[in-house]
């Protein structure tokens, strides 16, 4: 590491970007590599029922059978060495409802990331996951009293099997893709949320996913069920320190919005540049329900993520709003999947990507409207911003609309911030980083407004940091 980048890293630590790690000290460790015994170890530790053990083993078979999707996706996937990864690491303690009982290093980690402070500030509940398991999980009393459940997935499985089992693996089947199968085999952590009919959770629920260990895989599994006419906003944040070796994050997130329910799922991901982030996210929207994914991807080595909504009931609505920032050494392969399965369903996709240095951004969309339906609408907008000429951007929108009783609209644009534009801004006194930040913020501004205040501020700060880092 050059001296310059070493001081830069020191600055980033100060600004709590997440590049720090505490020494490893785990009671529970499934060891390296993946096989049936890995799954048994996880099930044993968690004291799982037979049906879930069987579910895991079937998933492992599917995972092993399925080829890597390198025929259409990125060759970079071949760099993942599944036998070198550790699939389960935990401190062996149940999550507590009090920060005082959280192990010291874990507590310090989340304090440095500002989580307890936010909880006191504006959140309805917090779950903080450290490697494989949640260390802390709490929901404010007023929502607890209304019957809102917000726990980690193991507890959901144990304490609320009747709701859990009904929806688990139903929105995203094990065999959806190789990584959803992997997650189904070794999942641990993630949130389970249930909101009873008519309950509107006024403040956001927040989950924070932290990877601390090297050569580790984090496989959280989140299931959110929002009952009739209820509403919730869920936010997840992710970070990991910068290690030399690859780290894998492969989550599965399933959302179920019962009739007229509303779910907003917000992600601000800021993984370090060695993380393979391969995530499957999908929601099922019943009649008149609305599911919105607001997804912000900064960092990671490779992100492949295409949040989707299946609009199963009449007048259901689905939306994906995404921002992806790819710096040198990074590839953001993101997009959206909209499956219209009922009349008068509406979907909206707005995707903005920024490629800098040698960073690469790809948009993949899929919009499906079958022939027998009527009155469906889709709007797709994807805009790319290239900062300097070495960047690369690709767009693969696939819109299959059958029949003529639908309205679809598609727009795409590519704009450039050239060296000349940067020169012009610098002539007015802006540093190179400030000039780039200004262009990027200008480009994503209308989307950032969709984020809650606290998050739009954070997002802007992350963009600034990323620009400072890129000019070095």
């Amino acid at each position: 590491m050059s001296e310059e980048s070493a001081t830069l890293d020191a600055v980033l630590i100060d600004q709590s970007q997440g590049n720090f790690a505490y020494p490893e000290d785990y009671e529970l460790d499934a060891g390296r590599g993946l096989g049936p015994s890995t799954l048994d170890y996880i099930s044993e530790v968690k004291g799982e029922d037979q049906w879930i053990r069987d579910f895991r083993h079937r998933a492992l078979e599917v995972f092993e059978r399925k080829p890597m999707p390198t025929h259409w996706a990125s060759r970079e996937l071949d760099e993942i060495k599944f036998q070198d990864i550790r699939y389960y690491l935990a401190k062996g303690k149940r999550p507590t409802r009090s920060w005082d009982e959280v192990p010291d290093d874990v507590k310090k980690t989340f304090e440095r990331l500002g989580i307890p402070e936010r909880e006191r500030g504006f959140l309805a509940g917090v779950e903080a996951q450290f490697d494989s398991e949640a260390a802390y999980s709490n929901i404010k009393e007023e929502f607890d009293k209304q019957g809102v459940i917000f726990v980690n997935s193991s507890e959901g499985l144990r304490e609320h099997p009747e709701i859990f089992r009904r929806w688990f693996g139903k929105v995203i089947p094990t065999g959806d893709n190789k990584f959803s199968a992997l997650n189904s085999a070794v999942f641990s952590g993630g949130s389970f949320i249930y909101v009873p009919p008519g309950v509107k959770v006024k403040h956001p629920l927040q989950a924070y996913f932290r990877i601390n260990a090297e050569q580790f895989g984090q496989f959280e599994r989140t299931l959110i069920i929002v009952d009739e006419g209820a509403e919730v906003m869920y936010m997840e944040g992710c970070t990991a320190p910068k290690f030399e070796t690859a780290t894998l994050h492969s989550a599965v997130v399933e959302l179920v919005a019962m009739p007229h329910a509303k779910i907003q799922y917000i992600t601000v991901q800021n993984w370090s540049s060695n993380v393979f982030n391969l995530v499957t996210k999908r929601g099922l929207a019943h009649e008149g329900a609305e599911i919105r994914w607001i997804d912000c991807n900064i960092g990671s080595r490779l992100t492949m993520k295409y949040p989707g909504v299946i609009m199963k009931g009449r007048k259901a609505r689905g939306e994906v709003i995404s921002i992806a920032l790819a710096n040198t050494g990074q590839h953001q392969d993101t997009g959206a999947k909209m499956i219209h399965a009922a009349d008068e369903t509406t979907s909206n996709i707005v995707s903005k990507s920024i490629s800098m240095g040698e960073g690469r951004a790809t948009y993949r969309g899929q919009v499906h409207i079958p022939k027998h339906l009527k009155g469906c609408r889709n709007n797709t907008e994807c805009d790319a911003l290239l900062i300097n000429s070495r960047s690369r951007t690709d767009t693969y929108p696939a819109i299959t609309v059958r029949g003529n009783r639908h309205a679809t609209q598609h727009e795409a644009s590519v704009s450039q911030v050239s060296e000349e534009q940067i020169f012009y801004m610098r002539q007015r006194g802006l540093t190179e980083a400030a000039a780039m930040s200004l262009s990027v913020n200008g480009f994503v501004n209308d989307l950032v407004r969709e984020f809650p205040m606290e998050y739009s501020v954070e997002l802007k700060r992350l963009i600034d940091l990323e620009m400072e880092g890129s000019v070095g």
């Binding site: 002539q427 007015r428 190179e432």
Partner: protein, 252 residues
């Protein structure tokens, strides 16, 4: 000391010499004009002073109030008081004019200082009114879709907000209609002060009717070949630049 001093400057682009031992001094409080044929290197001079990386400085020195300008970063030069109104201003999509100006002003604040937004907008609106720029331009992206004349006015607006010590105006008059020319010239004249030096690059005597220069220089063959008072512009208007070619032949 209180001047922009260009000493024996030789500059090449892609191996081709454009400026060849150019020397020029612009003291604070004075307005100098540079005229010269197309392609003689006027914009090259302006961009080298601003710090554009495409140009290779082979030799020479530029001192701004005694500071070695060529050793400074592009943005440092700006914050130290150097301003260039571009011949072809760039468009910055997605960045509003107001945000851009605010960031530029903020870049000049000391650490711990914060921009007084109310005062900033008050000043901005006042200057826009003076320059006849509609207030709705604050919300538009910098120069995007602006007409040629609107872009030039916007350059002057930026100069007025940033209050540089030395300003180079590269053909700010071309593309302006007659009324706009007067408005822009008045804007420049309001900024003339004992604390500020101007270097106007122009092809036309007309601008110099409105902004009276102290000196006029003719750039040709990579250096200043003639210097005179404001009457030199009138003479050039009459004779053109043919005499330079004859002169060049004579010395060859």
């Amino acid at each position: 000391m209180d001047c922009l001093e260009i000493k024996d400057l030789t500059v090449a682009i892609q191996g081709q010499r454009i400026l060849d031992g150019l020397s020029l001094v612009v003291p604070k409080g004075e307005v100098h004009a540079i005229m010269g044929p197309n392609g003689s290197g006027k914009s090259t001079l302006a961009k080298v002073l601003a710090g554009h990386e495409d140009y290779e400085v082979l030799s020479g020195q530029v001192l701004m109030d005694g500071q070695d300008l060529l050793q400074m970063e592009v943005d440092q030069r700006s914050r130290a008081g150097f301003f260039l109104a571009f011949q072809y201003p760039y468009e910055i999509p997605g960045v509003s004019n107001a945000n851009f100006l605010r960031e530029a002003v903020r870049a000049r604040l000391g650490s711990g200082e914060d921009l007084d937004a109310v005062a900033f907008y008050k000043r901005l609106y006042g200057l826009m009114d003076e320059l006849g720029i509609d207030r709705k331009f604050t919300a538009r992206s910098v120069n995007e879709g602006f007409s040629g004349g609107e872009k030039k006015r916007n350059e002057i607006l930026q100069m007025a907000i940033l209050e540089p010590f030395y300003a180079v105006l590269d053909e700010t008059d071309s593309g302006l209609d007659i009324d706009a020319l007067r408005v822009v010239a008045e804007g420049v004249n309001r900024m003339r002060s004992p604390h500020r030096g101007f270097l106007l690059i122009t092809h036309y005597q007309r601008l110099l009717n409105y902004i009276e220069p102290d000196f006029i220089h003719v750039l040709a063959g990579g250096k200043i070949v003639r210097t005179g008072g404001k009457e030199l512009a009138l003479e050039l208007e009459e004779t053109g630049y043919d005499w330079i070619k004859e002169g060049a032949l004579a010395t060859a």
